[in-house]
Symmetry: C2
Subunit: 880 residues, 2 copies
């Protein structure tokens, strides 16, 4: 296809509708759906969409519009003129359009919009005549100059604002709406001067020139920092640019019989199947989303205009039948005529996602696998977060809108930067703003919760917070925010940066001080989703748990065993750390054994507890992993205490601490290397496990321990240590006499690149493999997790890495080793059981990879178990 | 084959000769050669060899002799009896044998030997009669009891010695030889008592019982610690055990017409083609090797017994014609009859290896490729070591035998343990011993040189030292060693542990204090070998050099370019480190650039020097690699100086030092990661390289710089940085106007596992790869080179690793990544040039691997260049 023949514009209207909902990549979500809605007969003002590819071309051409583009724009405007009977720039019945951005992924508020485009001095008269309302036409024109100046030409909004204030004062007007026609005329002149002073040119009187500049501005907005940042946070990659939607204007601000609103076809917080939204009478589109005026609940529309309300409910029905998904729509009423301006899949909380998916299945809209695929697995964690205890005392200051559920306590932060900074220092902060705007996204992301004093359920703050599952109370109008003094006041009480407040995103309450929390009650729908997931998934889900409490919790969440029970934490408890240090400081094997003998009963009782909690399910215990110096301390007082306890000099303690120091402890004397040099540690731990299993058996518990040797790098290493483990178990079996001997599987972590590379040799000595992808990622990348933050942010900013490889498995590098390890391992050992126990085991994208790599199970932290159950099912469904 | 039919014993003698020199694995070197020598008609006393497999069986059976073995021994003894006309244990003409160990690899002195076996009270009389010499027979018998008691039964040698002393005193004898028959009879009785007291049993009067116990003792000696240690040091692996040689005794101690000696068919120090050896008159075999008596030079034999001397020269001729290799023989003269007891390939110094190989080629014994394969490539470094400056003043204390050439200075150490310990602490020590024994090998290995006061050119010390190419002066009889006071005295002068002495292994001089050294002169033969090597090798050899001096030296040694020019050292020089620190402490890019501007001219002139030295050859410059904190200091005074210099507070300096601290610097903010975050550093370095190349060009130098980006882990990283490098070069080309633009290849180190795994993607942005196997080994194993010594010795001891993977490439793990990286890289980029610049580039075994992996070049330190030239040729020859 030659450049000339490339189709860059898609029309939608009665004449023809060229786009459809499947063309999101090319037309953006908004453009694709405008075409789709037009096709299914919804009342959409006609217009056209310039493709995202054109945006990419524009950027490749360093900010030049592709040749022939404006020619195509002309053709499409002419089509619009024909369909509407209006003429672009005409002094009779002028065509007035909006210009909006719209990328393939939803990015609320990110892109700039220009309304009323096409108005000129000449067209102004035409508009006044056509609508029989000169004041309205003047108001529309001054809005255009302001918006075009600000958004397209980069003139500071304040420059226009101060002129507005000056003229209002001149005319004795208090509100914007008080300004009469002559006042507005003065304002237009003043705005034109502002425009000229700041841009060096006259406000364009050619509507095509307005359009061309606006299109460029939309394209440019794709690469402004806040847009890039939003894509970063939301991990939106692979898109080439934004589309531009040019659409006939309809006016919600034509008077008291007009209005505008946004709505969700179901409740996006709870998922309840009830039309949910807000509207403003006599207002233009962006007013609702920007949260400047607090809008009315959609229910009130049935009182205001019941026929329109009915039309909206019918629209909901048509859209849900068509899209089989909850929709988020924007609409405008122009002189009692309803227009739908946009529809898109509605953002929702995790709770809503679960309920909507299950309801849609029950209602027959979708099948079970679709329902499972609809729920972002990560969002399930929201349902597991604690809520405020309803019985706890609450010092309620005021109640705002329950914009995004959850419970958050923290200290107020007043700017996005402050929220980021204080959060990084470990504080829990509530970002408190009059309203939020796209500039605030990073602060919103950092904060524990968001509180706004204006704005509704569909305001920027509310929509973004719900998308992230972050707690938000919006429109708490009684709260006065004093950014200067860094305080908030409510009903005469004042709170500063050091006072804790709490917000309840479910009730909308704003509360003084912290509130006791409670584990959440899980809904029927949640349990249904978990059951359905279990029907489809192939991977088993285990948990990483080091205590019996964690084990019990994970089991409640559906864990099918423990994939990683770390033993090092057991040595840190008060009564044990001294024995541990004594062991480390010992100078002979005999001394070491004496100290280990003291640790043995503790380890045994820990294991007994965990094995009991997991009765009937496998428990993989990893032998001691960290370097010994991690158990020591540099604190003089504790060193002295230890020296006294052991009857040696503090110098000796210090010298041993010094001696154990390592340049790169990550690559040092740890893991199985400890077992090679100090076999007595391994023996003690194996003894504790085996004896615990015997104790469990006596209590009628079906204990299924598995012993995992960490940090194996070669077959000989594992063969040697396996023999030692087996000998220890054999000696316990022998001591145990007639009893059925213990048969404990012995396996290894695959966490060193060499282990994956030589997995065929290693597998000959292993009953199972468990990929330790945390360390494997460190060594495969050569990244120290403790130090990576000095350069990782630069790497993500410069798109060298698309995401943090410690959060989501690097499938092309580390993943290659996982596949190699699995395949080589199985080639040498048919029945080798293979799992993953790094943190990636709870990450849906990584789980999808593990499914395809043919692993047997994933293991993750207890709270991630439901996520993993769903993600494993999604992987199975997606990859059949 | 059933166990019963397994042939465990090979006979050699006139009756038949079953073994041959190709059966070393099965019969050990000694046994194979005894069979071979018998076959080619040399006068070898008949005997038989028990296979190494039998030893392996014995060890598998936990120290039980394989069934039927003793039966086979009987059969073979009977064959011997027939051939010699003697009878085992007979009171008439008894058969007396030696029992010796002999493995496939030579391990001098490592294994225990029993002589005169078969003597009993009864056979003693027979021997006396047969030889007509009762005193001799008695002496042989008392030696057997002593040796058998010590070696086979583990009775301390001192127990026998003190009895000997007692009886000598009783008899008024001063020397051993002063004891008459009745004295010897008393001694035999005393020895028998010692034997019984210590073993709980009588000295065995059944010769087969003696033999059985001896065979077991030889087998057991395979696994004694000093044997294991010797195999470790010499990296001898893959052997299953030692063979046992049972051979008719011949006696060199029959009187003044008898004797024993060892000889090399050529000079093992220099390679000169001259019979070389020593002998003792009226002595038994082990006396020469053990170095107890200082023997006579072999030349003196022509005076003593010229016909025997002629027979020996004829033997040399036969052996060299047959083996086409320099031989190390043991011989005995029994009453004027010559017997050859052993022949094996002679150990030699690097210098001798070169000369012998070239001479053997010239003499027509071998072809050129055999000559090249004969020289252990590593030994070439010996030829490159400095010697003492002949013009330097020498305070010569005494002159011993020039047992192994070289020049060493150090402080005396008096035990092997002391030598190991002090060497590990960084001291250069000379191990000073009366004589050395196998127990001393680790100390000998650690020491800079070895000095003995007794023992000859073929003593234990001399043979072992020559094998390692370590400097040794032997038999410096004037030196009195006082182990108690830890001093040596010579001619009234005394030297303690803190006094430096020097030894000249070429002249035999022992010198007080250090001596100035001189670069060695390289022999004609050395140059011939290098030329021959260049004819055969496929791999190019480059060098790792950071200064023009190193570059010149390496070029002299034949380097074909620089494979790794590290730039970090350039920043450490006095005048630059302050600027470097200023750059690191800078808080803005502008400040950083200002400091870099000051560094630029230094870098440029460094590069100009190196490029000039390598005129016409490629120079691969690696951009800055270490983490920035390596350039900072924790020293208060220097920090204060820097703070003053920069006009900032010392707290600021300290805080930046603190801020740059990393938990695992090896995996931290270094290598190309610095270029990602601080592109201005890369720009400065690239500018310095490019401007240096232009400057060289102006001087008529053909500068061929290549830019190497370290620590690349992903294609995107390299693509980004390559663009930055190209842009910088382009801007310099532009500034350079009409001149032919510089075309500098840009490549990367492959040193992170992920880089090898994704080499196909990375190769698209690289002109060359260079495997940085030092870091690649660290990350593939998860071993920090700085910390590995806490566990690596255990790993080698327990045979988890066969050698230090930082010394010799781990072919199965790290090597897999090298192959993968090479193949994937070439799959995406046909002409990709691939080299290696880790220290493995100078290791012959690793070079062999690189040859097979299809690399283009190896790069190593300047002194390793000749080694690499030879090793690359050997790899090419071996793998055709």
């Amino acid at each position: 296809m030659t450049i000339e023949s490339l189709k860059r514009i898609y029309y939608f209207g009665k004449t023809r509708s060229e786009g459809s909902k499947d063309m999101k990549e090319l037309l953006g979500g908004k453009g694709a759906n405008l075409g789709e809605m037009t096709s299914i007969g919804l009342p959409v003002p006609p217009g056209f969409t310039i493709t995202t590819e054109s945006c990419a071309e524009y950027n490749q051409l360093n900010g030049t519009l592709p040749e022939h583009l404006m020619q195509e724009v002309h053709t499409n405007i002419e089509m619009l003129e024909q369909e509407t009977g209006k003429n672009f720039g005409s002094e009779n019945n002028p065509l007035v359009v909006s210009v909006r951005s719209g990328a393939a992924a939803s990015m609320p508020g990110m892109m700039d919009t220009v309304l009323n485009l096409g108005l000129t001095d000449k067209a102004l008269d035409g508009l006044a005549t056509a609508f029989g309302n000169r004041r309205f036409a003047l108001d529309a024109y001054r809005r255009l100059i302001n918006m075009f100046g600000d958004v397209v030409m980069g003139v500071a909004h304040e420059e226009f604002e101060s002129e507005f204030d000056r003229i209002k004062e001149e005319c004795g007007a208090e509100l914007d709406t008080d300004l009469d026609e002559s006042g507005l005329e003065k304002l237009i002149e003043a705005y034109k001067k502002v425009y000229k002073t700041n841009t060096g040119e006259e406000f364009p009187q050619d509507p095509y020139q307005q359009l061309e500049k606006s299109i460029k501005a939309v394209f440019d907005s794709w690469n402004i920092p806040r847009a890039i940042r939003y894509r970063e946070i939301n991990e939106i990659t692979g898109l080439t640019g934004t589309a531009v939607n040019v659409q006939t204007m309809v006016f919600g601000n034509m008077g008291e019989d007009s209005g505008t609103g946004v709505a969700f076809t179901r409740n996006p917080s709870t998922g309840e199947n009830k039309f949910y939204g807000e509207f403003l009478i006599n207002a233009q589109g962006e007013d609702v989303v920007a949260g400047i005026r607090t809008p009315k609940n959609i229910d009130e529309m049935s009182v205001w205009k019941s026929d329109i309300y009915e039309q909206l409910l019918e629209t909901k029905r048509i859209l849900e039948d068509h899209y089989r998904e909850m929709q988020d729509i924007e609409f405008t009423i122009e002189r009692e005529a309803l227009y739908v301006l946009q529809t898109r899949t509605g953002k929702r909380t995790g709770e809503a996602a679960v309920k909507i998916a299950v309801d849609m299945f029950v209602e027959g809209h979708i099948n079970k696998t679709d329902a499972l695929l609809r729920i972002p697995a990560n969002d399930l964690t929201q349902l597991l977060l604690p809520t405020f205890d309803p019985k706890a005392e609450r010092d309620v200051l005021t109640t705002g809108l329950p914009a995004s559920p959850g419970a958050a306590s923290g200290k107020p932060a007043f700017t996005a930067e402050e929220a980021v900074e204080r959060s990084e220092q470990g504080e829990s902060v509530i970002l408190v703003r009059k309203e939020t705007s796209p500039e605030d996204v990073s602060g919103m992301h950092s904060a524990a919760g968001i509180l706004t004093s204006t704005g509704g359920m569909t305001s920027h703050a509310a929509v973004v917070a719900r998308g992230w599952g972050k707690c938000c109370v919006a429109g708490a109008g009684k709260i006065e925010i004093n950014e200067g003094s860094m305080t908030i006041s409510v009903n005469g009480r004042t709170f500063g940066s050091d006072d804790i407040i709490s917000i309840d995103g479910t009730s909308g309450e704003v509360i003084a001080g912290p509130v006791a929390t409670l584990d959440p009650e899980l809904s029927e729908e949640f349990h249904a989703v978990m059951e359905w997931a279990d029907e489809y998934r192939k991977l088993k889900v285990r948990t990483n748990a080091d205590t019996s409490n964690d084990a019990i919790r994970a089991r409640d969440f559906g864990a099918q065993g423990i994939g990683l029970c770390r033993t090092e934490h057991m040595f840190f408890e008060d009564d044990r750390i001294t024995d541990m240090r004594e062991m480390i400081l010992a100078e002979t094997e005999a001394e070491r054994r004496a100290a280990l003998d003291k640790l043995l009963p503790h380890q045994r009782s820990d294991f007994t507890g965990i094995l009991t909690a997991m009765d009937g399910l496998p428990v993989t215990v990893r032998l001691l992993d960290p370097p010994l110096h991690e158990f020591l301390t540099h604190e003089d007082a504790i060193q002295q205490e230890l020296a006294d306890h052991m009857g040696i000099s503090i110098e000796k303690v210090k010298s041993r601490v010094e001696q154990l120091h390592e340049s790169n402890p990550m690559l040092g004397h740890r893991g199985c290397r400890l077992s090679v040099t100090y076999p007595e540690i391994l023996e003690m731990q194996v003894r504790a496990i085996a004896e615990a299993a015997i104790e469990c058996r006596k209590n009628g518990i079906d204990a299924k321990p598995e012993i995992m040797i960490p940090l194996i790098g070669s077959a000989k290493e594992l063969s040697l240590l396996r023999t030692r483990v087996e000998q220890t178990i054999a000696s316990i079996n022998e001591a145990n006499g007639d009893q059925q001997p213990l048969d404990i599987p012995i396996g290894t972590m695959i966490e060193i690149p060499r282990a994956a590379l030589t997995a065929d040799e290693i597998a000959r000595h292993a009953d199972f493999f468990s990929f330790g992808t945390n360390d494997l990622t460190q060594m495969t990348f050569g990244f120290s997790r403790d130090d990576v933050n000095t350069f990782l942010p630069d790497y993500i900013k410069q798109e060298i890495l698309l995401c943090d490889p410690f959060q989501s498995l690097d499938t092309s590098g580390v993943g290659q080793l996982v596949e190699m390890g699995t395949n080589k391992g199985r080639s040498a050992h048919d029945n080798l059981k293979v799992g993953i126990c790094g943190e990636h085991g709870g990450d849906p994208a990584s789980i999808n990879f593990c499914h395809n790599a043919g692993l047997d199970y994933v293991s993750c932290s207890p709270f991630r178990v439901p996520v993993a159950r769903l993600a494993t099912a999604q992987a199975a469904i997606k990859n059949t």
